[in-house]
Symmetry: D2
Subunit: 114 residues, 4 copies
């Protein structure tokens, strides 16, 4: 039998995979970044055991990318995102974070505990 | 050579397919319906030639579905959506609409004109 | 510090959320079920620590749904899917499974161990 | 009333937007490119009025991208795709194509006719 902590970590992973693959590819600009971030938070907070989701779509990174471009929007991908998520499974709390490391969006467990 | 009206209709179709397949499957509840609708509008309005997008996520239909369910959220699909979109390509305006007809989400051209 | 078992469970969850939210909504029929299942397996097996993915898109369930319908395809959703996935993180193996239970697609840890 | 040619172009656009936003973001490597391309073709060919879809996921472009990378897979995006699609609406045939132009994946009408 998996422990509550292991199940909590599994549940946290599900939320991260869901958030990323549901919304990656969405057309996004500095002007629409905020409504997208709010929708991502509220959508994933619907999922079971999900206590809190905080999404930052990095408008400065979007502006930098678009400055070199003929377009005025791009597709959402990991390099424009910082995400923090708290999951609670049967009293075991898991904190997670996604941010860029060495050019990749890395999803990681920050803490697993009571 | 395709006419401007034909290209305008092609562009309108692209926006509809994008909107539907980007956001279908998103976890949604009556409480999160509004933030999702706003994000869908602003995301698709980024696309070229897209003048205006109006999305209604039908909270009553969501409540009716959830009343028969053990869950408090569901996945976004066509039966919870009414969408209107206006596209303008080189001065040719196309109005489009998606709504349920005979149990299917039908995307259709409402008008094509100057 | 999360244990290797907890990280393995987190990684397994990421794969499940990714698989579901990348592919839910895909147009599918009994005839195209097999190519979709193969693509889902090979796509998710690319992800780190993912040893094996087995996807069954239930053609009988698709046929039953379409028998009551004017359409000859539908959208992929959890009720047409059985998925098994094995993850290995630093020697800790996690087996997971998704199938319908009480009308919902339930993702669960089957075993966590050496 | 929209003409059959205009409706055919609208339908062609829907297929393109669907294909792109359903599958963008999928984990892909040179080894899994072929199963993904086949699944994309068969999925979109389910849609109404869609006669033929030909997807090429460019394995050389994937290899070039991965050569500069610590990872052995990436996310599917327009720069790895060439797509051709034929739509037939009430006898009016539309041919379409997506490929990179000036750094962007451009979807265009190739011909509209009998």
């Amino acid at each position: 039998m998996p422990s509550d902590a292991e199940t909590a970590c599994f549940e946290a992973g599900i939320k991260f995979g869901s958030l990323y693959h549901q919304f990656a590819g969405t057309p996004v600009s500095p002007e629409s970044a905020d409504s997208l971030a709010r929708a991502m938070e509220e959508a994933i907070e619907n999922q079971p055991h999900c206590e809190d989701v905080r999404v930052d779509v990095d408008e400065d990174a979007l502006r930098a990318e678009l400055a070199d471009s003929a377009a005025d929007y791009t597709e959402l991908t990991g390099r424009f995102l910082v995400v923090e998520m708290d999951v609670d499974y049967e009293g075991t709390r898991v904190q997670t974070r996604m941010e860029m490391e060495d050019g990749y969006p890395l999803m990681k467990l920050v803490s697993v505990g009571e």
